[in-house]
């Protein structure tokens, strides 16, 4: 208890250690929260989901906060759905059916045009196709007719830019440019202000109803941006945290504890056991680690658990075992071990109760310092395309970005966000490990 207190007092003298400890604590809490808020199955469903999950999001756009650093502001993504705002629908009786009026307010304050405008109609209980007419009201009170058409089927998608008549009315401009421009400006100037999209639907059956969804695909989305499959990077970036933490912690813990036990057994029994361990360590040293992991990933399985197991297996017989062995060899000659022998303690008891505890002060810093290398290893494998096929991880986001030429095309947010998270996680553990090393390792004391 006293020694713990002393360690803590020493620990407090390193401000970097305190900060890293706080960061690690936050990361731990955050990863628990992520697993709770987005359960595993939901995360996998979202991450593997295609167009049907993510159709409302723009393709490859940076996060919102990018606007803070730009003088020319990018338009945000606006999603308006009557399913979420049923009070916006105003019903009026009309013949056999009803007339549904919806006014969709659109605030536009950007210096650039959106990617695309699109509408979805979900029609229910209609035997005869309802009829819809769309009107666009600009801030300067002009009203532009967008289209009038019948809604055949249960789901209708209307893309503004693909309507040739609208294009004619906008003098050949793309809908997302022409609708938001100052009239007769050349080159087109965006007109800021409050727009309105007036939707009027006439149904011809008493029970028929139509839900409307309007999407302005902007050039920014959310706090994390989206990728080439319209996925919100939020899911991947958030879920990458628990995956990275778990992989790093388990790999590092498994490796260092097993290495410690093996080193202790070798140093205690000596003879052929020790020789065997030494030889295996030497063979392991010339085995190319990453190429073998790549082979395992390609030929056997990319499951994160298999990769984790092989990583631990290949890392046990590393340099650490030599260090531990050297210390155990010293320790086994100490008088207290002789005392233990004198009272007839068994081999197992001596190893577990007397040898292993001696190494704990060295093990803890090594364990913590080891975590970042495994966190980065997982990312490395993912960047090589050998990540877990179902789980979203930071490495996989980087790989997607690399594969889609994010660096060449200037989509830096895509690479930099996961990289920054990797760096924060890695650095927090590395800083903590370094501080612990300086506290526990008497040889480093004072230097």
């Amino acid at each position: 208890m006293n020694s713990l207190k002393r360690t803590w007092n020493e620990f407090r003298q390193y401000p970097s250690a305190i900060i890293s400890l706080i960061v690690i604590f936050i990361l731990l809490v955050a990863s628990i929260w992520v697993v709770y808020a987005i359960p595993y199955k939901e995360a996998v469903r979202l991450w593997r989901g295609g167009e049907d999950v993510w159709y409302r999001l723009p393709k490859i756009v940076p996060p919102k906060w990018i606007n803070w650093f730009r003088t020319k502001k990018l338009p945000d993504t606006i999603i308006f759905s009557t399913l979420e705002n049923p009070e916006t629908k105003i019903y009026e009786p009309s013949g056999d059916g009803r007339r549904i009026k919806i006014e969709i307010p659109i605030e536009f304050n950007s210096d650039e045009y959106p990617q695309e405008l699109s509408m979805y109609f979900f029609i229910s209980n209609a035997e005869k196709a309802p009829f819809v007419s769309l009107r666009w009201v600009t801030p300067d009170e002009r009203e532009i007719r967008i289209a009038d058409f019948g809604l055949q089927g249960a789901k209708v998608n209307f893309r503004f830019a693909q309507d040739s008549k609208l294009r004619q009315r906008l003098k050949g401009l793309d809908a997302e440019i022409g609708l938001y421009s100052v009239p007769q400006s050349d080159p087109p100037q965006p007109l800021k202000g409050d727009y309105q999209l007036k939707v009027e639907i006439v149904t011809f059956d008493p029970n028929a109803d139509v839900e409307v969804e309007f999407i302005q695909y902007g050039k920014v989305y959310g706090w994390f941006g989206t990728d080439h499959m319209r996925r919100d990077l939020k899911v991947g970036l958030l879920w990458g945290l628990p995956v990275a933490m778990a992989f790093g912690l388990i790999a590092s813990l498994g490796t260092s504890v097993l290495a410690m036990i093996i080193a202790a057994v070798g140093a205690w029994y000596r003879g052929w056991v020790d020789d065997l361990i030494q030889r295996v360590t030497e063979i392991n040293l010339v085995l190319p680690f990453l190429p073998i992991l790549i082979m395992v990933g390609t030929f056997y399985s990319r499951s994160i658990f298999v990769i984790l197991g092989v990583t631990i297996l290949l890392s046990i017989f590393g340099g650490a075992i030599k260090n531990y062995r050297a210390i155990f060899l010293q320790v086994r000659e100490m008088p207290y071990i002789e005392a233990a022998r004198a009272y007839n303690a068994g081999d197992g008891r001596i190893i577990i109760r007397y040898l292993l505890p001696r190494i704990i002060p060295l093990l803890i810093p090594a364990l913590v310092t080891g975590i970042p290398s495994y966190v980065f290893l997982e990312a490395s494998l993912a960047v090589l395309g050998l990540g877990d096929p179902v789980l979203p991880t930071w490495g996989k986001i980087i790989q997607d970005a690399e594969f889609n030429g994010a660096l060449y095309k200037g989509m830096y947010y895509w690479v930099l966000q996961p990289s920054a998270l990797l760096m924060i996680t890695g650095l927090a553990f590395a800083v903590l490990g370094f501080s612990l090393d300086r506290i526990f390792n008497p040889r480093l004391r004072g230097v």
């Binding site: 085995l287 030929f299 050297a326 960047v383 660096l407 060449y408 990797l422 760096m423 890695g426």
Partner: protein, 380 residues
């Protein structure tokens, strides 16, 4: 922490070398040759393990057999001359062709036999022909494919390692002289930055220097098309080297400088250094003869471990930088299930690692007086 690892770079045991009446040259030769033999045995076992993994106990053979059958079937079905054959004659024809192709690739023998044959040819790097890949000159010879890529890897990692070694030695020494200064404290504070691997810094460097500033190339080894003038060619290679070498250096320099500085500090507090100071020796002299000399084995050991981790990281590093070296070859070969190329490049990596270990053992034997004079294993 470092002194424990000091006894021989990788477990050489100087006490076994003690023999009376042997010259120091003889001892070095003996030490080195023992290491050479053990390393060779180590490489043989390592390569055999690689072959076992690469073949997945025959699973790759299944894949290959399936591919052969499909290819043969396609060929026979599209062959005009064979179209008019009766069905069973055509089936027999397919079987014959499949058997022939399997025999050509040596798939008809049991795996155990093949694995040992493979081991022998792997060790001599005569791995025959690749299944898919070809070298830049268009050859399917595995040896050519591999050896063509080797210089690029050696160039990249050789340059980076040498830069790293000398820069970290120099910086470590100068920081240990200025113990407690701001720069010294900064180096301690920055050392955790080395926890990120080279490719990671590579991405940042690419973004900054190639993407934003547009002053250096994104990747690759020479401009496309390569300049015909040898001087321009060398300059172009040099320009392409800057980013990857900086990335490797960045990823390891902080920790190397920190640990070098720490070793120097530990050794400069020894009594004999105080003694030398008391004698009135010059600072440079003290550094060279009393501090640098005894720290070198330790520094070389930690540098050797660093080198090995750099070598093994080559596949991803070269992939990120699009560097046409051995690492990227292994990555490409894995994508194509090209077992001979995978095994050959892994073997070559094992050789490279063994050579690294051996070279450093050799240097170690030269700088460690305990090997030269046959003294007892000390330090503990």
């Amino acid at each position: 922490m470092a002194q424990e690892a000091q006894a021989g770079v990788f477990g050489a045991r100087p006490e076994s070398l003690r023999k009376k009446g042997e010259s120091s040259f003889g001892r070095v030769v003996r030490y080195v040759s023992i290491r050479l033999v053990t390393l060779f045995i180590t490489v043989v076992i390592g390569v055999y393990l690689t072959i076992l993994i690469a073949n997945m106990g025959g699973y790759v053979d299944q894949i290959k057999k399936g591919e052969i059958r499909e290819a043969v079937q396609m060929r026979v079905l599209t062959d005009q001359a064979l179209r008019n054959l009766p069905a069973d004659a055509r089936a027999k024809r397919i079987e014959d062709l499949v058997r022939l192709e399997e025999k050509r690739l040596g798939l008809d023998q049991p795996f155990l036999v093949r694995s040992f044959r493979f081991l022998r040819s792997a060790l001599t790097l005569s791995l025959g022909r690749s299944l898919q890949m070809s070298s830049d000159s268009g050859s399917r010879q595995v040896r050519l494919i591999i050896l063509e890529r080797l210089p690029a890897t050696l160039l990249l990692f050789g340059t980076a390692d040498l830069t790293l070694f000398f820069v970290s030695l120099f910086l470590g020494l100068s920081l240990s002289r200025r113990y407690g200064s701001f720069l010294d404290k900064l180096s301690v504070a920055l050392s955790p930055l080395s926890s990120a691997p080279g490719w990671f810094y590579g991405i940042f460097l690419i973004v900054l220097f190639a993407g934003v500033l547009k002053v250096l190339p994104f990747g690759g080894m020479v401009d496309i098309p390569p300049p015909s003038n040898p001087v321009d060619y060398a300059l172009s290679v040099l320009r392409h080297l800057i980013l990857p070498v900086t990335a490797i250096t960045l990823s390891s320099i902080f920790l190397s400088v920190y640990s070098n500085r720490t070793f120097f500090l530990i050794y400069s507090s020894e009594d004999y250094v105080d003694m030398a100071k008391a004698k009135g020796l010059q600072d440079r002299e003290i550094e060279r003869r009393y501090i640098l000399r005894p720290t070198l084995p330790t520094i070389i050991t930690s540098f050797a471990l660093l080198l090995i981790s750099l070598w093994t990281g080559a596949p991803i590093f070269e992939t990120v930088f699009n560097w046409p070296g051995l690492g990227r070859t292994i990555y490409q070969a894995v994508g194509l299930f090209d077992t001979p190329v995978i095994v050959a490049s892994t073997v070559l990596f094992a050789y490279l690692l063994a050579i690294t270990v051996f070279l450093l053992d050799f240097i170690y034997a030269l700088v460690d007086p305990r090997v030269k004079i046959g003294g007892q294993e000390g330090g503990q």
